[in-house]
């Protein structure tokens, strides 16, 4: 299933509207004004929360009505910079395609493959942070680094391992030794 940028944008703005509204309501409990009508700690949360909610609603309406472009100074500048004639498209500017006719990048990966890598990296990031209390920050992220290169990006194993270990060693030297940052070693207490 493909979600269009417009639909996703509308969804995101709806979430923002809800967050803004909630922030304004919670913010009002902090005290909108203080003594002698001066600004209280809740003033800006209410104002900014309200602004987020209002602007997000306007954005949703604009997206739904497809009237989502205001005119800004940058538009004028872009307008000035725009070419009068369309630049000619050379054959090498044509997107690369694989045998099935799908668009691929220079490593021959399709959009769907790249999206799968992206989701895996996000899951891997959360996993690495969760693993930190057990095996330590450096070890868990070095593991992630090697897994990303070898499993997800399908790079050769030996260079991937060497690069991961060297990068981790440099980071360890700089942060642990040079800057004396107490990198968490986790329950195992390795590095």
């Amino acid at each position: 299933m493909r979600i269009s940028v417009r639909a996703a944008g509308t969804g995101f703005s709806l979430v923002l509207a809800a967050v803004g509204l909630a922030a304004a309501i919670v913010g009002s409990t902090y005290g909108f004004t203080g003594e002698d009508g001066r600004i209280g700690p809740g003033f800006l949360p209410v104002v900014f929360g309200g602004a987020v909610a209002l602007l997000a609603v306007v954005d949703v309406v604009q997206r739904v009505l497809r009237r989502d472009r205001g005119v800004t100074i940058e538009d004028l500048a872009t307008d000035l910079a725009a070419s009068d004639a369309e630049p000619e498209v050379a054959p090498e500017d044509e997107p690369l395609r694989n045998e099935a006719g799908e668009e691929v990048d220079i490593f021959g990966r399709t959009q769907r493959q790249r999206t799968r890598i992206l989701i895996s990296v996000m899951v891997g990031l959360v996993g690495a942070v969760l693993l930190t209390p057990l095996i330590g920050l450096l070890l868990s992220f070095t593991l992630l680094m090697a897994l990303v290169a070898i499993v997800l990006e399908r790079r050769p194993v030996v260079p991937s391992l060497i690069i991961s270990v060297v990068a981790a060693a440099v980071i360890w030297l700089v942060f642990r030794e040079l800057l004396s940052v107490p990198l968490p070693t986790g329950l195992l207490g390795l590095i």
Partner: protein
């Protein structure tokens, strides 16, 4: 002024500062040219590395990354038509065409020369203008500061491009995030939900690393990679006629860049667009624009460098960041216990002038490095991104941890990284969010003080002529472009009618 410059040179020319300036500009060039890394990301990720350095040395290095990245961004724009920096987007129009015609060398050379000339001109203007502006700003009270911050927010929203509402919405999100924690002058903990880590607010550096480094990496994974055009040493030779032909474009670009860069909130991206557009109107060679005109490279490259330096005028003199990268640098100042703003010139003259003079030195280093070595730097483009981005991920999380020695920071980086990716995918502007986040606490402080001055009545803001002028300019910035667009077709139609009747 001369005393200050001598003081600056004595600071910037110490072997340690020179070395870190060189490290900064080289790192900046590499960062600028690597896909998915820009000046903001570079400064945010490498900021924790500078904690062991003296503040002046650290700031010299971080600023070196900033303007080094402007040079590096050009190399990718010319060779793979993929700008490393938003401010180099326009350079792809003619730069990439030149590269395809086998003139990558002159394109890179003229942008290095143009950037250098622009840097020197804008630095001269910066050292001339910033101190008097700081003097003037010393007389500003909370009311004037409030007005200037509102102007800064309006500028960033109107100048970031795209829909006005979305820019304003993102600025409001940044401002809202800035209200988390206990604000100065109050005792109430806001939006902390019992979490002790949130009491002092959402930390700035972690948000930057998340939004810019992680968010960009995640975005690039999905975009995929393009193959670079090869640039050789012997291609780097630039003809004298190329230089003389480009000089007017370079000078105009420098001027336009400075004017736009000096506005708090407007950035080098807009400057490069604007100068390219103007050059296309006035250049003798305008017919070739978009087909590989050297002026089309010289002009935006000069403008973005000039604007990058001009950005320091509001940052140093008013304490209001000119753009996203100067916002991170502003964060760096506060981490080192320095409060950027008008007082900085009085309390830390050695630091300010040392930093300003280091810009001169850094730009000389960049010219010397870039003219012969651009093809060497370009080899970096051959490093597979599959190796590069895991390293960026590792550096980002460890760097974030180093800021506060707390795993909470790492979670924040991951969270804001995913948010940054969503914003990029949805084409929502990040710069207003960052400015909102930086300006939020400052805005609240001046607002509280203003409200105290007026005993609860915010109308007191209209008693200050300076504040009124600033606020009127802010309104004009929103209204004027709309008016111009509304009027332009009518003027054109009236001209047509006049022509018709003349016949």
């Amino acid at each position: 002024m001369l005393d200050n410059l001598i003081l600056g040179f004595s600071q910037a020319l110490t072997p340690e500062n020179l070395l870190w300036c060189l490290i900064g500009v080289v790192a900046g060039t590499v960062i600028g040219l690597l896909p998915g890394l820009g000046a903001t990301t570079g400064v945010a990720v490498l900021l924790p590395l500078t904690f062991a350095l003296e503040p002046i040395t650290a700031l010299i290095m971080l600023a070196g990354i900033y303007y080094g990245a402007q040079y590096g961004g050009t190399i990718t724009s010319v060779l793979i038509s993929t700008p490393g920096e938003a401010s180099s987007v326009v350079t792809t129009l003619d730069g990439y065409q030149m590269a395809r015609q086998g003139r990558a060398g002159p394109a890179l050379a003229i942008s290095a020369i143009g950037s250098f000339v622009a840097a020197i001109i804008s630095l001269a203007l910066l050292v001339t203008l910033a101190p008097p502006l700081a003097d003037l700003a010393l007389g500003f009270g909370p009311i004037e500061q409030l007005a200037i911050m509102l102007l800064g927010l309006v500028i960033v929203v109107t100048f970031q491009g795209g829909a006005l509402v979305r820019g304003a919405m993102m600025a409001a999100v940044g401002l809202l995030i800035s209200t988390v924690g206990v604000a100065s002058g109050f005792t109430t903990a806001r939006f902390t939900f019992g979490n002790v880590d949130l009491l002092s607010g959402i930390p700035f550096v972690e948000v930057m690393i998340g939004l810019f480094a992680l968010g960009e990496v995640l975005y690039q994974i999905r975009v995929g990679a393009a193959a670079p055009i090869r640039a050789r040493f012997k291609d780097m030779v630039i003809r004298r006629t190329d230089i003389t032909r480009s000089m007017p474009a370079i000078l105009r670009g420098s001027g336009i860049g400075f004017l736009l860069g000096i506005l708090p909130g407007a950035g080098s991206t807009l400057a490069s667009f604007m100068s390219y557009g103007i050059e296309k109107r006035v250049s003798k060679n305008r017919a070739n624009f978009g087909k590989g005109a050297i002026e089309g490279v010289a002009s935006p490259e000069s403008a973005n460098n000039s604007a990058a330096n001009a950005n320091f005028v509001p940052t140093l003199a008013l304490g209001i960041p000119g753009g996203a990268t100067t916002a991170v640098l502003l964060g760096a100042f506060t981490i080192f216990g320095l409060q950027p703003g008008p007082l900085l010139f009085e309390t830390q003259p050695a630091l300010v002038w040392g930093l300003l003079v280091s810009f001169f030195i850094g730009n000389v280093l960049l010219l010397v490095l870039n003219l012969p070595l651009a093809p060497v730097f370009a080899q970096m483009l051959r490093i597979p991104y599959a190796y590069l981005y895991p390293i960026i991920l590792l550096t980002s999380v460890v760097g974030a941890f180093a800021v506060s020695n707390n795993l909470f920071s790492v979670w924040l980086v991951v969270l804001f990284g995913i948010l940054g990716w969503i914003l990029k995918e949805l084409d929502l502007p990040i710069a207003p969010l960052v400015l909102g986040l930086v300006l939020g606490p400052l805005l609240e402080k001046s607002l509280v003080q203003t409200s105290a001055l007026g005993q609860g009545n915010l109308g007191v803001i209209f008693t200050s002529p300076v504040a009124i002028v600033v606020l009127v300019s802010a309104i004009a910035l929103v209204v004027l472009p709309k008016a111009v667009v509304a009027i332009r077709p009518r003027v054109a139609a009236a001209r047509e009618r006049a022509k018709e009747t003349a016949r």
